[in-house]
């Protein structure tokens, strides 16, 4: 009789090996024998990973004064946008504009809540101290954040009705939104700023959200630039 081909003979042996391996793996994963979770911190690419003690607790990155000023300033900035949208109801029947206004009002009121909460949690005042306002834009009436409408502009908006209101509102809100973009970029251009996760996320959202709204408003104004 010819000798049995090797593959058939080796099969049970391989299966046995596999069985032994599976059994071993099962054995080491029995709860009683299981290892506790490890806490590790990788190094730079190519560098080894450190094992940290089980008592390790999370820490926050440093906060800068610019972070706080940004939030305080943006609350003021948003408050004016909400004030502007509150004028819509009595001054125009433009359905599209009313819808846009409702949306801006909703988003910005919400964001003001968020910013206030953020400042409260950091133990910082919600309103900016006057000394901190140095270097900000100075309007004709008091201190204004970038893009905010002057007292004169706000008065003109209050007086306007119908299509004239629509135009002034859109022009004003575009100016206003562009100011927010300046504020975001100034904040990120400051050393040590924007490292807080919530602030980073919020500022990035403000940037993309307001850019999009500017484009929509430009379209509504009939300017496709």
């Amino acid at each position: 009789m010819p000798v049995q081909p090797t593959p058939i003979r080796s099969f049970p042996f391989a299966a046995l090996q596999l069985f032994a391996m599976v059994a071993f793996v099962c054995l080491i994963s029995v709860p009683g024998l299981a290892q506790t979770p490890v806490i590790v911190q990788p190094g730079a690419p190519g560098q080894p990973t450190k094992v940290l003690p089980a008592t390790t607790r999370a820490v926050l990155p440093p906060l800068s004064t610019k972070d706080v000023e940004f939030m305080q300033g943006m609350i003021m900035h948003h408050a004016q946008a909400v004030e502007m949208t509150a004028l819509i109801e009595a001054r125009t029947e433009n359905k599209e504009l009313r819808l846009l206004g409702a949306r801006i009002s909703q988003s910005q009121s919400d964001e003001m809540n968020f910013m206030k909460r953020w400042l409260e949690n950091k133990g910082e005042p919600i309103e900016m101290e006057m000394d901190d306002m140095e270097g900000m834009d100075h309007g004709s009436h008091g201190h204004l954040m970038p893009g905010m409408l002057s007292g004169k502009q706000m008065a003109a908006l209050r007086r306007a009705r119908g299509p004239e209101f629509d135009r002034l509102f859109l022009e004003g809100m575009i100016q206003h939104h562009k100011g927010a973009l300046v504020m975001v970029s100034e904040m990120f251009d400051t050393a040590g700023s924007g490292q807080d996760a919530e602030l980073f996320n919020f500022a990035t959202d403000v940037d993309s959200g307001q850019r999009a709204e500017i484009k929509i408003m430009q379209t509504m104004l009939g300017k496709n630039n």
Binding site: V51, A58, R117, W118, A191, G192, F200, T204, D205, R211
Partner: protein, 637 residues
């Protein structure tokens, strides 16, 4: 001892006090929700999910069609210790001389920690679940889904930690200013305070700053090692793993950057601005990283495709000039210069991108050269956030992350078409709008809620998606009929706090090999199973459970293949009976025959079903009857 006890009492009352102060301030801060805009419909206030009791660990729960199996709490390494930066609590503690390590009330802790330690996206491989976090990554063993075990907490902050896995490689997104090459938690120090009246200088270029995609070797699951790190100008908010069906030696990563461009001094070649002023701007593009699987340290950017280009004029910011189906003037595309997320479906050679002001379709047959072939916008959309194909590739579900996920956007007065899914048909590479879907229940003012990440549930014959809605919970949507999506199951908890929005809820809810896993931002990892209802039968659930995959990166969509198994046939019978395409009597008979399968008997039913299907002509159930007949004819027993 006694003194210590009094001390603790005093400290406790102070904590409660400061907590009260914080919440009452927050209560003032929560303004009345704006009224529902005219002509819009708001959320349902009669739903049992509205006004569930608040609480961190004891919040009220409501569920339908799904059962909560367990919540594994976030590990201590990802919880803020007694926080020196938390002034209200911190300074009060110091003043009292309370030793370090004292406990602060959980709600306060959560509020303080916020996004910094938020859980984010999920990926899966074998028995391992990878849970991204703004502070790093946690890796779990889910061999027993009802009892997941934490294996590894990896500390590595720098952004939301969007995660993908491929064989022995794990990829992670980093976008924030505090990201460092070495995974340190130190961040970068601010400049010294400027002289009065002076602006602080620009941030120093930091050679150790990392914004981009990290690559880890996870051969040893308890010791992930960073082997590569590819820097990008805007960092990586999300990324998508892309396989090339024709090249097994490399994988690709599409990088979606949504943040600001860093200066050239920090990363050579980076510059900002509009394309008319700066043709090399790092905006208006995505990056494509090529990763040699055997040498991941050599991963590099191989292309930065201008996917928003107008093909006729060559203008880089071309999307707003053309490519929109919707030209009514109200919602023209914004100046789209970024994608938030891209889902690739290599089996059909397409990708769907959610790109700030637009939903787009890309041809990715050559993965290094994605090419835009369609784009849409929508006047109700605020921010195009993510996309998913139906399994047959004939539908695309986009989501709108109105408010960025941190706002309450499911209140009774929030329109049901804002912050919703938009379902599009995809025919001949053209998208056409079909309908909106928003998780229907109203939520309170203190619950952040909007459409977020989800995955398909592989029920044969139906298009079903499980989806996270932050504190709006988890909602399961059937979009088989794209014009009439409906909710078939849900799970929800009450808010963490009744008076302030504490960032929480489900970031991602994905189906993986028989269970639903949800990353709860503040609380931990939730695991669920489906339970049968009139909307979804046990046979359909079993058929879904029979689909097994070795790896799951949801944005790298894989075609689901169902076997010709008996349980798949049973799912079809249940579905056909539900819509009265098969009579109750015949359905019962077929199910009985399938329980004790005899080929000749099944063949008889196959003939009968086949015959009936021909009578249906264009009925949508015809295909399903034919699929059933095919299994009855040749069952995989």
């Amino acid at each position: 001892m006694n003194r210590g006890y009094i001390f603790r009492l005093l400290a406790t009352s102070l904590f409660l006090c400061s907590c009260f102060v914080a919440t009452s301030l927050a209560q003032e801060a929560i303004e009345k929700a704006p009224p529902l805009p005219a002509g819009m419909t708001g959320a349902d206030v009669n739903d049992p999910r509205y006004k569930l009791t608040p609480g961190l660990w004891d919040a009220g729960e409501a569920a339908f069609g799904m059962k909560h199996l367990m919540l594994l709490k976030k590990p201590d390494a990802f919880q803020l210790g007694v926080d020196a930066n938390g002034p209200k609590v911190g300074t009060a503690l110091k003043a009292l001389g309370v030793p370090e390590g004292a406990q602060i009330p959980p709600t306060m802790k959560m509020a303080l920690a916020g996004l910094a330690f938020a859980n984010s996206d999920l990926a899966f491989q074998g028995n391992h679940l990878f849970l991204g976090n703004f502070y790093g990554m946690n890796i779990f063993d889910i061999a027993d889904p009802a009892n997941p075990k934490l294996l590894t907490s990896m500390i590595c902050p720098g952004g939301q930690g969007d995660v993908s896995v491929y064989k022995n490689l794990m990829f992670m997104s980093v976008e924030m200013q505090n990201g460092r090459l070495d995974c340190s938690t130190d961040g970068f120090p601010p400049n010294p305070p400027p002289a009065p009246g002076q602006n602080p200088g620009p941030p120093a270029a930091q050679k150790d700053r990392f914004r981009g995609v990290r690559i880890f070797d996870i051969s040893d699951i308890k010791n992930p090692k960073q082997v590569g790190a590819v820097q990008t100008c805007r960092g990586s908010h999300t990324h998508t793993l892309v396989n090339d069906p024709n090249d097994k030696d490399n994988v690709y990563i599409y990088v979606s950057g949504t943040s600001f461009v860093r200066p050239n001094e920090e990363l050579a070649g980076c510059s900002d601005g509009t394309p008319d002023k700066n043709p090399d701007t790092a905006l208006f593009r995505i990056e494509v990283i090529k990763v040699p699987v055997a040498a991941p340290q050599n991963a590099k950017i191989v292309a930065s495709p201008r996917i928003f280009m107008d093909p006729r004029t060559g203008v880089v910011n071309g999307l707003n000039n053309g490519g929109s189906h919707d030209d009514d003037g109200t919602g023209k595309p914004a100046d789209t210069d970024q994608c938030h997320d891209i889902t690739v479906y290599s089996a059909i050679g397409l990708a769907a991108g959610a790109c700030s002001g637009n939903g787009i379709i890309l041809d990715i047959k050559d993965p290094a050269k994605p090419k835009r072939i369609d784009a849409v916008n929508d006047k109700n959309y605020s921010y195009w956030h993510s996309a998913a194909f139906s399994n047959d590739g004939k539908k695309v579900v986009f989501t709108d992350e109105w408010g960025g996920g941190m706002g309450a956007r499911c209140r009774p007065t929030d329109p049901n078409v804002w912050g919703a899914n938009a379902i599009f048909n995809l025919r001949d590479n053209k998208l056409s709008f079909a309908s909106y879907y928003k998780m229907p229940s109203a939520q309170t003012d203190s619950e952040n809620c909007v459409a977020h990440n989800g995955s398909l549930i592989p029920v044969p014959g139906r298009d079903i998606k499980v989806q996270a809605w932050y504190q709006g919970g988890i909602s399961i949507m059937d979009f088989t009929d794209p014009s009439k999506p409906m909710e078939i199951a849900y799970f929800d908890r009450g808010p963490i706090d009744a008076k302030m929005i504490v960032l929480a809820g489900s970031w991602s809810a994905y189906w993986y090999n028989g269970n639903i896993y949800s990353s709860e931002i503040a609380r931990g990892l939730d695991v669920f199973e489906l339970t049968p209802t009139k909307n979804l039968s046990q046979n359909e659930i079993d058929a879904a459970k029979s689909v097994r995959v070795a790896e799951l990166n949801v944005q790298n969509q894989q075609k689901i293949e169902w076997s010709n198994k008996i349980l798949v046939a049973k799912a079809y019978v249940d579905q056909l009976e539900r819509v009265s395409a098969l009579s109750a009597a015949e359905s019962t008979n077929i199910r009985a025959a399938l329980d004790k399968p005899v080929r000749s008997k099944l063949a008889g039913f196959a003939a009968s079903v086949q015959k009936q299907s021909r009578l249906m002509k264009n009925d949508p159930y015809m295909a399903k009857m034919q699929a059933l007949a095919a299994i009855l004819k040749q069952p995989g027993i």
